[in-house]
């Protein structure tokens, strides 16, 4: 009896000081848990970001000390280097075609799959599979071969009277080989769309059908607004990813961005400047240009989002 009273009282007495001690220890523990990330963030992210900004104002070839040249790299980039603008144009063309197409296919297939039918899970997995394979060199090799002169695509189209020749050797078609490879990987955004579709309350569809709304009306009045946050999320991610595409262009063009620079994606040109020409200062300026473009595009998307993205809790 006495013993148990003491036992019961003991924690109560100790509680106040222990709590303070625990809090202090917690804060200390947090830094222990964070330490790998902190080291990485400082040495591999923030430090290098600043360093590349500084390097962008220098002439540096990796072997001799960097030479401060002021804005010369930026001047060359914007006014004296046609290949730079060429690569910007190629990238914009690629991004503006591949991303909307990929998202449209992803949304259409997600709408198709979003019904409780047998095999739904199987199709979802199977359609997702290309997203895992698409980044590999092997698949880029397949595309390169399929679209080459006398290859499968060429001979099939010729058989029905469309004689386009090899796509990868045709400056006006080569970029669409990369676009088709990107669209082939629609599975990743599709899975996200499906997760979003699953969240739309079925009462809304019931209400729409009671009101006599057809498929199209239901889509625009219920599905589209309620799915808009997911669409926004996919759009941001896919845009950022597309701006940085590299492997497929490298493999399909044999590392050169040809024919006549028609597949010279921005990252491919950056790679060329940095690691074949060892023009590290210029490549750093290009990298910062890319960062600013991505930041501006993302910021514009976020600003535009209050016009077309509807979050739960908004007035509808």
């Amino acid at each position: 009896m006495t013993a148990s009273t003491i036992e019961a009282a003991a924690p109560a007495r100790a509680a106040a000081p222990r709590k303070v001690r625990t809090n202090a220890r917690r804060d200390g523990a947090a830094w222990v848990f964070l330490s790998p990330w902190l080291i990485g963030a400082a040495l591999l992210t923030i430090g290098p970001m600043i360093a590349s900004l500084v390097l962008s104002f220098t002439d540096y070839d990796l072997f001799t000390a960097p030479d401060f040249v002021g804005l010369a790299n930026y001047q060359r980039m914007f006014f004296e280097d046609p290949r730079f603008w060429k690569s910007v144009g190629v990238t914009l063309n690629y991004v503006l075609v591949a991303v909307p197409l990929k998202l449209a296919v992803a949304l259409a297939v997600a709408l198709l799959l979003n019904r409780p039918r047998m095999g739904q899970g199987f199709y979802r997995s199977a359609f997702y599979a290309p997203s895992l394979l698409g980044a590999s060199v092997a698949v880029a090799i397949v595309w390169r071969t399929l679209f080459s002169q006398d290859g499968v695509v060429d001979s099939t189209l010729s058989a029905v009277g469309i004689d386009l020749g090899g796509w990868i050797s045709n400056p006006s078609l080569a970029i669409y080989v990369l676009v088709s490879l990107a669209v082939w990987q629609f599975g990743a955004p599709m899975v996200i769309f499906l997760a979003g579709l699953k969240q739309i309350p079925s009462e809304l569809y019931d209400a729409a059908s009671v009101d006599g709304a057809g498929w199209w009306r239901t889509f625009w009045s219920v599905t589209w607004p309620l799915l808009s946050p997911v669409l926004f999320f996919n759009l941001v991610l896919e845009l950022i990813g597309a701006f940085q595409s590299f492997t497929s262009a490298y493999v399909v063009s044999g590392g050169r961005g040809g024919p006549i620079d028609s597949t010279l994606l921005f990252t491919l040109y950056l790679y060329d400047r940095a690691f074949t020409a060892f023009d590290m200062g210029y490549a750093s300026a290009m990298a910062w240009f890319l960062l600013v473009v991505i930041a501006v595009v993302t910021a514009l998307l976020f600003r535009s989002s209050n016009r077309w993205v509807h979050y739960a809790g908004d007035d509808r």
Binding site: W184, Q199, G254, Y311
Partner: protein, 302 residues
Amino acid sequence: MTVTITDATATLITGHPVTRRRRSRRTLAGSIVWHVFCLALLVLLLYPVAWLLGSSFKPGTEILTNASPIPHKFTLENYGIAVQGVAGLSLWQLFGNSLTISVLTVIGNVLSCALAAYAFARLRFRFRGVLFAFMISTIMLPMHVVLIPQFIIFNQLGMVGTFLPLVLPKFLATEAFFVFLMVQFIRGIPRDLDEAALIDGAGPYRTFWSVILPLMRPALITTTIFSFIWSWDDFFPQLIYLNNPQNYTIQLGLRLFVDQTSASAFGPMFAMSVLAILPVVIFFAVFQRYLVDGMATSGLKG
């Protein structure tokens, strides 16, 4: 890269709780049309992969022109040549190098991201908000902006040519996406469990090790799968850092084929391509449920 965004994260994006749709009325005709549509799409999507697989058993001269995945003349010769490797590098060496990088990447990502995620999700410390926002923003940061200084650092340290520039950063939680994924997952674990552990006298280390880490298993598996597949397929960093042929990976080995345009090289190139995507296909087949379902649904229930 975002397939693991599932119910929980979708809730986060949209603000809607997950509700399952009621089964809609279906008709037999509609069902048949639906299946025909899905199967047609499936055939179209899988055609390039099937063609790759089939072509790897064709003689090199047949590959370019035969649109059918089924070879006219079946041969295993391509694999015989592919196994010998390229440019004096055996296939096993290329595979071994790729595997070393992928396994180390998985270990690094799982360890370092779990530690950081626990701190962000559960512990209180100064500047938490700012640091978390910074961590999230690095998901969108193009790697190119840190690439050149990182290359210079690793070059100064004499590490260019080795695996270290590729795997060392993974031990420092540089893949913010996985940190974010794990933070989201830990936030879904009831805090009662932490508090129960606290009452039992467990500190943050013990709570992490005995409570959070075991419950995080689905997120750790998702991280493992994606770390493996992404590092296996990774190309740009390998192209830059692995300039010593001894350390070439399967991706770099494949690249050596690309410049050889003679038809005779097509066969071994295709055979090697099949072997290069095989580990990804196996991972996909085995972990398909985790890959597509992701964390939330298979989480605490499983």
